[in-house]
């Protein structure tokens, strides 16, 4: 029963996607819309059922499949593993995916590639579910690459737009860089455990904790090496600083995609992976330190950039990166369930924000620049309310989602005696509140800055978009307080000390984040409602700094100069100089020239004159006789030759 449910949950989205992809172009939009949403709806129901059945149990459900790669001692099997961690992810993925599917009916109405779009969304859901239910690292990679592919296809959905194509390509490549880390990471684990399955690896860790490996003469702790490599993979997928530049560009995708893939689910795959390998992380303090540092850096950097962007989706995208940073910070400090908690709340409030932003963009005739919005809240009150809910949850005001999950991470920082990380988190909170309210105010308040044509078309989105939006908003309201006890409890296994200690922190520490949030909101209010000159004043005074963050720290330009241009130059160099001049002229061409040259030289000897030939004959005969004599000088005496000749005459 459970197995059947699990199989249905996984394969219903695939079925829907295949139907829409193959028959959608023939049978029309209505068919694609019903088949994909229908399948997603059923999958959501079955996953809910799974939650009801498996939630109270302590054992994981495992459905074995057929063998995938079986060579010698190596055996990788397909399968489904559903423990509490997977369960949380399945619920998030299926539900938000369903909401986004329904939302897309309204948002993507009239698009010529509607069926293709719905099919991609369903394929993505399938791969994401495979990822979170994988019982081994190789199958996880199957899902991992599958969601990467879906992301590529969805970012490049409008393939007539060169910018979308470039963004899609960039996303895929950046993710592949992370993937190299992932693959090398699991190969390192294989070296240690001779298997890719989770359970033998996780139970076998204590035996292997002292294993060292030599690399270029250095003794490396094998587990640390493996986990760091896996973390590189997670950085690529979850857009952590260094490998983050694809995420803002990925906003070329239609907005429902941004909500589902690039906010709620796919980008959290990295966090999920790290939580999945938490039994390994427990033995690798160095890796955890690195994760905390990268997480903290991403929190601050991404939030700073978000403060000065003008594209509504780009702001939310950087916000996503920053929030993922919080989750990694928690993982680095062993607060795995706190990370999962924030992942859950973030999935809902960020999906709300993105779908809200989509609703705004829809209303504003595809305008995305918040400097060209303003004064529209009366026209689209429902969207406005939901954007408020999302922002309140994001900023973490009391009784909203972020207050529970983000503040828990801050408290973990505090009890782990990580003052720098704590400070980064706090700065992040101020910046988060600032950009969130900057977005709200510039988008909805003040005087309208859009032209009359846009303003005259302004209207609230259709029901198909509002229903998912409202549902997500409602869940956002309840998810924080509702799940707090679950996540700080022992849902994911034995309760860990960090979380316990975090709950015991004093009230002063617990209020600090709230004050920070209020500070951020206050500054935003001051800047954009009261003294509207101040922002431009600040821009002028700190022009360099502003430009630096406005251009997203010039990281793209840096990468272009460091990697892209040199690679292409190297490619041309290797081809033109290496292949065509070097190898060709030394190898085949060189041999050809050499033999031609030799042939020509020998040709010269063939003059056709008899005396030339006779001379050559004499020379040759002399050389031959001389050679024989010289070679046999000790055995063959000259006298014997005379003797021989005499006898021959006679």
């Amino acid at each position: 029963m459970d197995s059947t449910l699990a199989i249905f949950t996984l394969f219903l989205p695939l079925l829907g996607g295949l139907c829409a992809g193959s028959f959608g172009p023939l049978w029309g939009m209505r068919f694609s819309q019903w088949v994909t949403c229908g399948c997603m709806g059923l999958a959501t129901l079955t996953s809910l059922w799974l939650v009801i059945i498996l939630g109270p149990l302590d054992t994981a459900l495992s459905v074995p499949g057929f063998s995938w790669i079986h060579v010698g001692a190596l055996e990788v099997k397909w399968g489904i593993l559903i423990d509490h961690l997977s369960l949380v992810m399945i619920m998030i993925v299926t539900f938000i995916s369903l909401m986004v599917h329904v939302y897309s009916i309204g948002y993507m109405k009239g698009e010529p590639g509607f069926s293709r779009f719905m099919a991609y969304l369903s394929f993505f859901t399938f791969f994401m579910l495979v990822l979170v239910t994988a019982p081994n690292f190789v199958q996880l990679f199957f899902g991992w690459e599958g969601v990467g592919l879906s992301s590529y296809l969805l970012i490049g959905y409008w393939y007539n737009d060169p910018r979308a194509n470039r963004a899609a390509f960039k996303a895929f490549l950046m993710n592949r860089i992370g993937d190299v880390g992932y693959v090398l990471g699991i190969l390192t684990l294989y070296l240690l455990f001779q298997t890719f399955d989770f359970s033998p690896i996780f139970t076998g860790v204590p035996d292997k904790q002292a294993h060292m490996i030599e690399i270029y003469g250095w003794q490396c702790h094998t587990l640390t090496l493996a986990t760091i490599l896996l973390f590189v993979g997670a950085m690529g997928k979850s857009a952590q600083v260094g490998l983050h530049t694809w995420l803002p560009d990925a906003m070329e995708a239609p907005t429902p995609v941004s909500a589902l893939l690039h906010a709620a689910t796919m980008v959290t795959a990295g966090v999920f992976l790290m939580v999945r390998i938490s039994p390994l992380l427990d033995y690798t303090p160095l890796t955890r330190e690195m994760i905390t540092i990268v997480g903290a850096a991403t929190v601050v950097l991404a939030a700073s950039i978000a403060c000065v962007q003008n594209d509504i989706k780009r702001i939310i995208a950087y916000s996503t990166g920053s929030q993922l940073g919080y989750m990694f910070m928690a993982i680095g400090l062993s607060g795995y369930s706190a990370a999962m908690f924030h992942l859950t709340t973030h999935a809902f409030f960020k999906a709300t924000l993105f779908l809200g932003a989509g609703s705004v963009i829809h209303a504003m005739s595809d305008e995305q620049d918040i400097q060209k919005m303003g004064g529209i809240w009366r026209a689209i009150p429902i969207t406005y309310t939901l954007m408020w809910i999302g922002s309140l949850a994001l900023a973490g005001l009391p009784f909203f989602a972020g207050f529970y999950s983000k503040d828990l991470i801050l408290e973990i920082n505090w009890v782990s005696k990580m003052p720098v990380a704590f400070a980064c988190g706090l700065v992040g909170i101020v910046l988060t509140a600032f950009y969130a309210w900057r977005l709200l105010i510039l988008t909805f308040q003040g005087t309208p800055r859009a032209n009359d044509a846009v303003m005259s078309h302004l209207k609230e989105s259709p029901l198909s978009m509002l229903v998912p939006l409202i549902s997500l908003g409602l869940i956002t309201l309840v998810v924080g307080p509702g799940l707090y006890t679950l996540f700080v409890g022992s849902f994911f296994g034995p309760q860990n000390e960090v979380i316990l200690a975090a709950q015991q922190t004093s009230y002063e520490i617990k209020t600090v984040p709230v004050l920070a949030t209020l500070l951020g909101i206050g500054v935003a209010y001051l800047f954009y409602m009261r003294s509207k000159k101040w922002p431009s004043h600040l821009e002028m005074t700190f022009k360099r700094t502003y430009e630096f963050f406005f251009h997203q720290c010039y990281i793209d330009a840096l990468y272009d100069r460091l990697f892209v241009v040199p690679s292409l130059k190297l490619a041309n160099l290797l081809w033109k100089e290496g292949d065509q001049k070097g190898i060709e002229s030394l190898g085949p061409k060189g041999l050809t020239t050499l033999s031609l040259l030799g042939g020509r030289l020998i040709c010269r000897l063939q003059t056709g004159y008899l005396y030339h030939a006779a001379f050559a004959m004499v020379l040759g005969f002399g050389a031959m006789v001389g050679g024989i004599l010289w070679l046999n000088s000790d055995t063959l005496r000259l006298a014997e030759v005379y003797d021989f000749l005499a006898r021959y005459k006679g």
């Binding site: 172009p25 057929f66 190596l74 007539n160 190969l187 290797l574």
Partner: protein, 488 residues
């Protein structure tokens, strides 16, 4: 012993087809096409029967046929299959009908001759995969060059003569050295194929033998820096010729390494392994970069073949079960993927008569089916999990990582570079703002020729067990050879 000499039937049926085309009069090209197609299809069906008859639980060679040939030389006609040759036989018999289908409309002149050349080629290729007599192997192995020379030289592009000669001479040069090695073996221990050998050559002799074989196989597969013939030849070859060249002829190099270098010269193979690793790594990275710079689609695919074959040589010389299985998988997988990619190029060439990337763009609007199929093969080429490309690449990396972490790390860069050149190619051809192109989408014949490859690539990606089942025994035997060495 089965009463019917199944294996010999498979090998010589295509030749029989060629003869029947010749006898039936070469004037009617339509007739020749159908004969060639049917003969190759029957050969494929027979090879499926062969697969069914093959018992993977028994080690060694099976379904052998032996016949006295030139008795005073001790030369016998001796053929048989084992786990290493069977996948290549299936690959060959699968690809030839597809090549014939791909050449249905594209070959306008001397069609009957073309079909004959293809069928003769099939006989020679199959013969070299099943030959168990070392001189017989040589005859088949070299025989392949003759029909291929004509296919390139008669039905090729503008510089076909140059390309045909380059192909012929380059590969012949390597084979000349191999002939010396084969003669040496023949005079020392007789002419039956090495797996039957119990005694191992003296290490010094092994070194020379290994180098002689290496010269031939490294050019054939081709390894860096012996690869420069490949792009030139591919560019000039007709679509069917490119498909068979990339799909099968390159694999004869890998097959040779597995059949001769490893079992005959285990010591030398172990000694030379680091050297092969270095060349393979250079091939993988260098060729991937060069592929990035190409402006001609066929050249790009040709260079990607060099990179993929780098994985094959890397995997073979890990002398590890996973590495060698990975190398075989990679060869079978690349056989299908590269054939399909060349078919993709051919399909467009028939419509536009150009292969320059810059002259394409936005094909997705008029050719959605083509876009989907091309995408799937591009993804297989970059090794996306779920396609055969991943299984091969991953197993090779796994095997390599066990013996040499640095080599595996360098090779894994191909994951990035492979994605870069493949996807970039795809985007430039398929996507972009709509243009006024009026090409028709894939027709039924083209769809039929793509579909078996598509099924194969996905099947091998999701459920490669049938392949591993066939190869396992032979691979273990090979690994056994090298592990015995470690103990002594």
């Amino acid at each position: 012993m089965h009463p019917l000499p199944l294996l010999s039937m498979i090998v010589f049926l295509p030749l029989l087809g060629a003869v029947s085309i010749l006898l039936s009069g070469a004037k009617r090209s339509a007739n020749a096409r159908w004969v060639a197609l049917w003969v190759s299809l029957v050969t494929f069906v027979l090879s499926l029967v062969l697969w069914g008859r093959y018992d993977p639980t028994l080690g060694g060679f099976q379904l052998e046929n032996t016949m006295q040939w030139i008795s005073y030389l001790g030369l016998t006609y001796h053929v048989g299959v084992d786990g290493i040759s069977l996948p290549f036989i299936l690959l060959t018999t699968l690809l030839v009908p597809l090549c014939i289908l791909a050449s249905w409309k594209g070959i306008k002149k001397r069609t009957a001759d073309y079909m004959m050349a293809f069928l003769i080629l099939e006989t020679f290729v199959l013969g070299s995969f099943v030959a168990l007599d070392i001189l017989l192997f040589y005859i088949f192995f070299e025989g392949v060059l003759i029909p291929m020379f004509f296919i390139i030289g008669i039905w090729g592009g503008p510089h076909r003569i140059y390309a045909a000669f380059k192909f012929f001479l380059y590969t012949l040069l390597g084979s000349g050295l191999m002939l010396l090695a084969i003669l040496y073996i023949y005079f020392e221990v007789g002419s039956s194929i090495p797996l039957a050998l119990e005694s191992v050559f003296d290490p010094k002799v092994q070194t020379w033998l290994w180098l002689a074989f290496f010269a031939s196989f490294a050019i054939k597969i081709p390894m860096w820096p012996f690869h420069t013939w490949l792009p030139d030849v591919h560019v000039e070859a007709p679509t069917g010729g490119s498909m068979i060249l990339a799909g099968i002829l390159l694999k004869m190099g890998g097959y040779g390494f597995l059949r001769f270098s490893l079992p005959l010269c285990p010591d030398a193979s172990a000694d030379f392994a680091p050297f092969v690793f270095i060349l393979s790594i250079i091939a993988i990275i260098y060729a991937s970069f060069v592929a990035l710079a190409q402006t001609d689609i066929k050249k790009l695919v040709a260079y990607s073949s060099v990179a993929h074959m780098g994985f094959v040589t890397l995997g073979i010389f890990t002398m590890d079960a996973a590495g060698i299985s990975g190398a075989i998988t990679q060869m079978v997988s690349h056989g299908m993927i590269s054939a399909a990619l060349f078919l993709c190029v051919g399909v467009m060439y028939e419509r536009t008569h150009t292969r320059k990337i810059a002259e394409f763009g936005a094909l997705v609007y008029r050719m959605p089916r083509y876009a989907v199929i091309f995408m799937l093969f591009i993804l297989a080429s970059l090794g996306l999990p779920g396609t055969s490309g991943f299984v091969g690449e991953f197993l090779v990396l796994l095997g390599t990582y066990q013996v040499n972490i640095y080599a595996a790390t360098m090779a894994s860069l191909a994951m990035i570079l492979g994605a870069a050149y493949a996807l970039w190619l795809y985007q430039r051809i398929i996507f972009g703002p709509p243009t006024a192109c009026t090409f028709t989408d894939l027709n039924g014949r083209e769809l039929i020729s793509f579909s078996p490859l598509l099924v194969g690539v996905l099947l091998l990606g999701l459920y490669p067990a049938p392949l591993f089942k066939v190869t396992e025994g032979a691979v273990m035997k090979l690994v056994g050879f090298s592990s015995l060495l470690g103990k002594s």
